[in-house]
C-alpha cells in the first residue's frame, strides 16, 4: 500500500515545500524599504461636521414647554 504512493508528494514534503516558499516570500517583502505613513484621524469633511442645530420655532417651543415659565399665569 505504502509503495503505491511513493512517486506522489507526501504530506511532510508538501508542508516542507510550502514553508520554504513562504520564507522566500517573506524575505522578498522585508527586502523592500519600509515607508512610514503618518496616522490620520477620520475627517469626514467640513460639510459633514458643520453645525446642524438651529433655534427653529420647533426648538423654541420645546424650550418654552420644558421651562416653568408656562406655569405662570398672565
Amino acid at each position: 500500500m505504502r509503495d503505491d504512493r511513493k512517486d506522489e508528494m507526501g504530506r511532510r514534503h508538501f508542508f516542507r515545500a510550502l514553508g520554504g516558499g513562504s520564507v522566500a516570500a517573506a524575505a522578498a517583502i522585508t527586502a523592500q524599504p519600509m515607508i512610514a505613513t503618518p496616522a490620520q484621524a477620520y475627517d469626514p469633511g467640513a460639510e459633514e461636521t458643520k453645525a446642524r442645530y438651529r433655534e427653529s420655532d420647533h426648538v423654541k417651543a420645546f424650550y418654552r414647554t420644558n421651562g416653568y415659565e408656562t406655569l405662570k399665569k398672565n
Binding site: Y42, P44, A51, H58, V59, F62
Partner: protein, 198 residues
C-alpha cells in the same frame, strides 16, 4: 456656538421608557440594540431614582481616544458621531465608555460582533443629509430638520432635556429653584423621615 447636551432630570423620570421606544421607532434600531435605556437605582425602595441614559456626547470622548481605527468625529455643535464604514466592531469603545453607550449587533455565532451602533443625537452620520444610506446606517437626521432628539421631545414627564447646553442648564436651574432637588422635590424625607438616604 451651541453645544448639544442631554440632561435627565432624575426627579421627574418615572421609568416609562417612552424615550427608549421613541428612539427605537424613529431610527428603526434593530432588535437587540438599545441606543437609549432607563436605569433605575434602588428599585422598589423609598428614594428610588430612574435616569434615562444614552451617549452623552462627551467633550473629550473616551471612545474616540481608544478607537484603533479613528472612526469617531465631533461635529461643530459638539455631537460625537462615528463612521460605520471605518468601524471594525472591536469593542474597545464599549469598555472605554462610562455610560455603556456603544452597542453591537450580533451578526453570527460565537459572539461575533457587527459595526458599533450608538445614539447619534438624531444627527445622522457622515453620509449626505436625508439620504437613504444615512437613514439605513444611522437613522433619521432630525437636527438637520431643525428639531431635537425625539427621546427628549417624546418624554412624558419632560424629564429628559436636550438642546443647547446653556439653555437646558437654565431650564434645570429654574426647576431646582422652584421645586427643590432630591428630597426637596419629592418629599421622601417627609414621608420616610430620616431613614431614607438620597
Amino acid at each position: 456656538m451651541a453645544r448639544m447636551k442631554f440632561l435627565c432630570d432624575a426627579d421627574r423620570c418615572i421609568e416609562c421608557n417612552a424615550c427608549v421606544t421613541a428612539c427605537k421607532n424613529e431610527h428603526e434600531v434593530p432588535w437587540g440594540i438599545n441606543r437609549r435605556r432607563v436605569v433605575t437605582l434602588n428599585d422598589g425602595k423609598p428614594g428610588e431614582r430612574s435616569v434615562s441614559m444614552a451617549c452623552m456626547h462627551c467633550t473629550d470622548a473616551p471612545c474616540a481616544a481608544v478607537c484603533p481605527v479613528n472612526c469617531f468625529y465631533t461635529t461643530a455643535d459638539a455631537v460625537v458621531l462615528h463612521s460605520k464604514d471605518i468601524c471594525i466592531g472591536c469593542g474597545y469603545c464599549f469598555y472605554a465608555c462610562p455610560f455603556g453607550a456603544p452597542q453591537y449587533p450580533k451578526v453570527g455565532n460565537f459572539g461575533s460582533r457587527g459595526k458599533m451602533d450608538k445614539c447619534t443625537y438624531c444627527a445622522g452620520g457622515p453620509e449626505a443629509d436625508f439620504s437613504t444610506i444615512e437613514y439605513e446606517k444611522y437613522g433619521s437626521n432630525r437636527l438637520a430638520e431643525g428639531k431635537l432628539p425625539l427621546c427628549a421631545e417624546m418624554c412624558s414627564t419632560k424629564a429628559l432635556l436636550a438642546g443647547d447646553g446653556e439653555m437646558i442648564a437654565q431650564i434645570y436651574k429654574q426647576r431646582v429653584i422652584k421645586r427643590g432637588y432630591g428630597s426637596g422635590a419629592w418629599g421622601w424625607k417627609t414621608a420616610y423621615r430620616e431613614t431614607v438616604a438620597i
